[in-house]
């Protein structure tokens, strides 16, 4: 923490800057929201079309019964690990540089997991019967099957949506109070309700800190479990290429990799749009870059282990699947390897690169494209070449599936855009707390830290 942000701004100035995003929307904002809304509408139309006609409007078949939807699902679940992990780990490890990016990361988690949760419903052959999977008492005594990983998924994702929403809300509480105090009219009323009467008393702060720490500690196992469970969707099957014990850690690592990369992308976008150059400094990118580097190394190791074991065991069908993948999906495989390990490892070793916004943007975007491809490669080539060679097949996504996936991206962006308009996107109180903490107050002739002791 060598270079704490040095501020000479007044409190109200800081508040003004950090809350600038809440000002009445500009034409640009409207255009963006409209554009995103339009893409979402296209996706909705595509989904409706699918529901009216049947799953044949997708590219799925036998044996490739899962495709772009489940790719999207795993991808978005992965992204959702960004916020919570970054935020909780850094919170627990008391990394001060985390403060300006916490809010965005946490919000991202909530929206990603929400988007992710939609995919399993979208991909159902009979979406309208989704509720059969919910354990509700009924006259027929019918109960869902808790041996099915899909039930575990549902449970874990529901828990994660609730947990991460609470986590976000908790962090938001003091800031909502600030906004409440600076608004009038109906907005004031809304924020007043949301702020739940926060006054900022010492007791409130002390409880708040305890709760945040507790929440951060609790959400980590949930997050890890979510992606482990998603990995189990694959690992508990007998599908060659899926049935692998390394899948849970491998998936979690992959999730964090994509999550961290997504946070970096988001930081760059927010920094640019809301002109937060002073709050999101090269220091932040440097640190995030280090994090990404470490995780990329871990991912590389996990991937190597997986492939190496397949190669070493040389179980005929497993090896067949891998050979098929590497020979028929070579470009995708290369993009994945470059994006997930080569690029981050080469670039992020250098401090200069980590501090270059352009490089960071390029790396983080590539990581995410690569992670989407990784999910795709796990699902599609594997299913194409299952145990029965006579029934092998191929898959390419249809327009409907592509539109729905694009709409997911747009939907996420739209939710974020709306959130940023209505809630402080930079954690105001956190940033100010740090300033306060680091500020030197005159004590006689000496200048001492305003708050003694640790956080």
């Amino acid at each position: 923490m060598s270079e704490p942000p040095v501020t000479t701004k007044s409190v109200s100035q800081v508040n003004d800057e950090l809350l600038s995003s809440l000002r009445p929307p500009t034409l640009g904002w409207y255009l963006l929201a409209f554009f995103l809304g339009a893409v979402v509408a296209c996706g909705l139309a595509a989904f409706t079309w699918q529901m009216m006609n049947g799953m044949y409007v997708t590219g799925k078949n036998r044996p490739v019964m899962w495709g772009f939807y489940i790719t999207g699902f795993v991808f978005w679940v992965g992204l959702s690990h960004s916020g919570t992990m970054v935020s909780s780990i850094l919170r627990l490890s008391r990394a001060h540089w985390r403060r300006p990016i916490l809010r965005a990361a946490e919000a991202m988690t909530v929206f990603c997991i929400t988007v992710a949760g939609l995919f399993p419903l979208i991909h159902l052959g009979r979406n309208w019967t989704f509720f059969y999977m919910i354990p509700y008492p009924n006259q027929r005594g019918l109960w869902p099957n808790f041996r099915s990983p899909l039930l575990w998924d549902m449970t874990a994702i529901t828990a994660y949506i609730i947990g991460s929403t609470l986590f976000l809300y908790l962090g938001l509480l003091p800031d909502l109070a600030v906004v409440r105090d600076r608004t009038t009219g109906w907005r004031h009323k809304v924020y007043a309700v949301l702020a739940m009467g926060w006054r900022g008393s010492a007791r409130e702060w002390s409880i708040y800190h305890k709760a945040s720490t507790l929440m951060a500690a609790l959400i980590i196992p949930v997050a890890v479990s979510v992606h482990s469970i998603v990995a189990w969707d694959f690992a508990v099957t007998v599908v060659p290429g899926w049935h692998s014990t390394i899948f849970p850690p491998y998936f979690v690592i992959g999730a964090i990799l994509s999550g961290v990369a997504a946070v970096i992308t988001l930081m760059i976008i927010i920094r640019k749009i809301f002109r937060l150059e002073e709050y999101l400094t090269p220091l932040h990118f440097d640190n995030m870059g280090k994090l990404l580097l470490v995780i990329s190394l871990l991912w590389t190791y996990a991937y190597f282990v997986e492939v190496h074991i397949t190669w070493y065991a040389h179980e005929p069908i497993e090896w067949e699947v891998f050979s098929f993948l590497s020979s028929n999906y070579t470009p995708q495989l290369l993009i994945m390897l470059v994006g997930n390990s080569l690029l981050p490892i080469i670039f992020l070793c250098f401090r200069k690169m980590r501090r270059s916004i352009g490089v960071m943007l390029m790396v983080s975007l590539w990581v995410n494209v690569a992670m989407f491809i990784e999910r795709f490669l796990i699902i599609v080539p594997t299913l194409s070449h299952k145990n029965m060679p006579f029934a092998w097949g191929t898959y390419s996504p249809s327009l409907v599936e592509t539109l729905v996936n694009l709409a997911a991206l747009a939907g996420f962006a739209l939710l974020f855009t709306l959130f940023a308009k209505f809630f402080p996107i930079v954690a105001l109180s956190d940033v100010r707390e740090l300033e306060l903490r680091e500020a030197k107050v005159p004590m006689g002739r000496a200048r001492l830290s305003s708050i003694a002791g640790k956080e």
Partner: protein, 736 residues
């Protein structure tokens, strides 16, 4: 009512007597003429016995009927030909009944020929039109201007059509089918002095040598032989029959062989004689059998001196050691059996080759022996009439008459416009016939040319009797009865002939006084089984219908094969082919499709959807090419290729087929209909259009003697196959 009750009880007794033995107690077989008392019983299925008309094999069927609708066709377990089993075509026959494009009432052409424009007319108008036209023909000095074209019919319908034409005064009754085994009858006449088709005792043989006899898919009686094949392999405790298949293309039958010998097309006869020479030279022949046949081994050996191993190996392109092995195995593993099939017969030297193969059976004593070959039971009443030995020459004669303008009207049952190779000139000749009547059930290629369409009942709505082609040694006589009320305003072909006869009056009406075909059937049953008492006849009739026919218990067959002429075995001439080898380097084999036979199955969606067993292709045509040839022509699986013969050319997708000689290509028959309803129309190609005409001896047509060249057109062959192209070679992954 009393009599009716009696009949009911009679029928039930017969039905339950054998049902107890074979089907469990759950089914109630009843004849259609005794409906359940209160009409249908909801939820309760009834079974009607009838016969399959999917091909001439004439298998027995039971149709499950529920709520007045036919639901499922099953094999009749009591029927000696198929023993309760059915082939894919037999299973699919239900869809003929409920085909969405069935013709629902008589049609008269309203646009130009072939335009497919018809107007609906009533039966009385239609019959008036038909009888008026025929009356006019009768006024003419030469009443021979009426032609009747049918498949090779059996039973009462064969007699009826024969009587009709005779009484009308016309000799132009053509019973032609592309795949009819005329060639086998003819060869038998030469070899054994009698035309009876063979019954092969496949189940009991220990060594089967098939020269292109594709008994699993089409040859003679596929279900009978499919069943016998299973028993040959695993039906005996200690013996597993061995199977060697000879033919340039590995057919579905060939795929089950232990050994495949891809002999050059047209060389099978030389191979057979070469094997005979090796057997004689090694003294492995059956001496008693030979002397029985009046053949002197030394003479025959001398006669065969030209068929030395080197020459045979050169002619056939086979390895010498495998020829020697097969000769030894065939002669020493007794009983053994040699069969000849269409791909051999349809060469320019087909007749001689088939006879050479028959000689092999004679040589090692396979005639009239368990595990060997017997004459099959034949239908004595119709055998001479419609079971031809050279219907092809009759076809050519009819075409000549048509061309000469001698034919003024043609009544056509069947679809010859699709199944007669165009090189014969049949289609153009038919154009000159002013009045064509079709009895089609869907608007097929022939019906499209017709002036008048008098839609026949579907088989499951029809009465009839069937004598199976060659699936049994003992007499089998199958019956057909309607299993549901006819769906539409259609009439049975035979009923139309009877109605026309009565309208025409004169000798015709006198010869065919029956009002309906059912009556005619009953009458011919009476004659056939020579019962006298009226009551007995009725009972017999009910018994026949409820049991599905008359199946004579196993009895010693009276007929035997005996080699007719001692030393005489003709040398198969060098095979001739249409098209010069340098311009047309590949031999074309057209073969009957497993699912469609000669094309009649193509109208049924279940059969279109059924993956071809060998290529796994669905809903289309393809050409099979050896992988080496394909790669030398730059062709890969699914590419669109153009096949050019000296006569014409076709475009269709390629299938890379490891089981075919590199100098051969093969196309299945059955597709390429211009009509035939929504499922068949404009689907695939009809390879018959490629064929050139080459006659063998006795005008046996050589349908497998055309050469072609193949060129790649594009990647877009529109080929859909059920099996994954690469996965089809990876049986190792599942230990298969």
């Amino acid at each position: 009512m009393k009599r009716r009750t009696f009949l009911q009880l009679g029928g039930m007794t017969v039905a339950s007597a054998f049902l107890a033995g074979c089907q469990g107690q759950n089914e109630k077989l009843i004849p259609y003429l005794i409906p359940p008392d209160e009409g249908v019983t909801p939820g309760k299925a009834t079974y009607y016995a009838s016969s399959c008309s999917g091909c001439p094999a004439g298998c027995g069927i039971l149709v499950r009927v529920s709520e007045g609708r036919a639901k499922k066709i099953e094999g009749n377990p009591r029927h000696p030909v198929n023993r309760g089993r059915l082939c894919a075509r037999g299973q699919a026959a239900l869809q003929e009944l409920y085909h969405p494009d069935r013709i629902q009432q008589p049609l008269r052409r309203s646009g130009p020929r072939g335009s497919g424009k018809f107007q609906k007319i009533s039966w009385s108008e239609a019959l008036d039109l038909l009888s008026d036209t025929l009356k006019e023909l009768q006024q003419e000095p030469n009443t021979g201007s009426l032609a009747l074209l049918t498949p090779q019919l059996t039973g009462s319908l064969a007699t009826l059509t024969g009587v009709f034409m005779r009484s009308f005064g016309s000799t132009h009754h053509l019973a032609y089918e592309l795949l009819a085994p005329d060639w086998l009858r003819l060869a038998n006449r030469y070899s054994f002095g009698q035309p009876d088709l063979p019954f092969y005792d496949l189940a009991e043989t220990r060594y089967l040598l098939s020269f292109g006899a594709d008994f699993v898919e089409n040859h003679l009686s596929p279900v009978q032989y499919g069943n016998a094949f299973g028993r040959m392999r695993q039906g005996r405790d200690t013996v597993r029959g061995h199977f060697t298949y000879i033919g340039g293309r590995m057919s579905l039958t060939g795929a089950s062989a232990d050994r495949w010998m891809p002999a050059k097309p047209g060389s099978e006869g030389v191979l057979a004689l070469g094997l005979a020479r090796l057997i004689l030279a090694g003294s492995l022949h059956d001496k008693a059998a030979l002397s029985n046949s009046g053949i002197r081994p030394e003479e025959l050996l001398a006669r065969l001196r030209n068929y030395d191993l080197q020459r045979v190996a050169d002619a056939t392109g086979l390895a010498k050691n495998s020829i020697v092995e097969v000769a030894r195995e065939f002669a020493t593993t007794r009983p053994s059996l040699a069969m000849a099939g269409e791909s051999v017969a349809f060469q320019s030297n087909g007749l001689e080759a088939v006879r050479a193969i028959q000689l092999l059976n004679t040589l090692v004593g396979n005639l009239n022996r368990p595990g060997g070959v017997y004459p099959a039971s034949a239908d004595p009443s119709t055998g001479a009439l419609l079971r031809k030995e050279s219907s092809f020459s009759e076809l050519l004669a009819l075409i000549a008459s048509m061309r000469a303008g001698k034919i003024k009207a043609a009544l056509i049952k069947g679809n010859p416009v699709h199944t007669v190779p165009p090189v014969t000139g049949f289609q153009e000749a038919l154009d000159t016939v002013p009045f064509i009547v079709s009895f089609a059930t869907v608007l097929d290629d022939t019906a499209l040319q017709a002036e008048l369409i008098l839609p026949d009942h579907a088989a499951l709505e029809s009465w009839g009797d069937v004598v199976p082609l060659a699936g049994s040694r003992t007499m089998v006589y199958g019956t057909m009865q309607p299993v549901v009320t006819p769906l539409y305003d259609t009439r049975q072909f035979a009923d139309v002939l009877l109605a026309t006869a009565s309208r025409l009056g004169g000798p015709l009406a006198a010869a065919l006084p029956e009002e309906s075909f059912v009556e005619y059937l009953k009458f011919s049953q009476a004659q056939r089984f020579s019962s006298e008492k009226e009551e007995d006849l009725e009972l017999l009739w009910v018994e026949l219908l409820s049991g599905g026919g008359h199946f004579a218990p196993d009895q010693a067959p009276e007929k035997h094969y005996r080699w007719a002429s001692s030393a005489v075995i003709a040398d198969p001439p060098t095979p001739a082919f249409a098209g010069e080898a340098n311009k047309f380097p590949l031999h074309l084999q057209v073969y009957p499709s497993t699912a469609f036979h000669d094309g009649r199955g193509a109208v049924l969606p279940w059969l279109q959807q059924l993956p071809d067993p060998m290529s796994t292709v669905v809903w289309g045509s393809w050409i099979e090419i050896n992988p080496k040839t394909a790669s030398s022509l730059g062709i890969s699986q699914g590419d669109l290729v153009e096949v050019t013969s000296p006569r014409s050319s076709l475009r269709l997708p390629a299938v890379v087929y490891p089981g075919i000689r590199p100098d051969m290509v093969a196309i299945p028959l059955g597709q390429g209909h211009h009509g035939g309803g929504r499922y068949a129309k404009d689907r695939g190609v009809n390879p018959l259009t490629l064929l050139s005409l080459l006659n063998g001896k006795e005008q046996l047509a050589a349908w497998n003697a055309t050469r072609v060249r193949v060129t790649r057109i594009s990647k877009k062959g529109d080929l859909v196959s059920a099996g994954h192209p690469e996965g089809s070679y990876r049986g190792d992954l599942i230990g298969i």
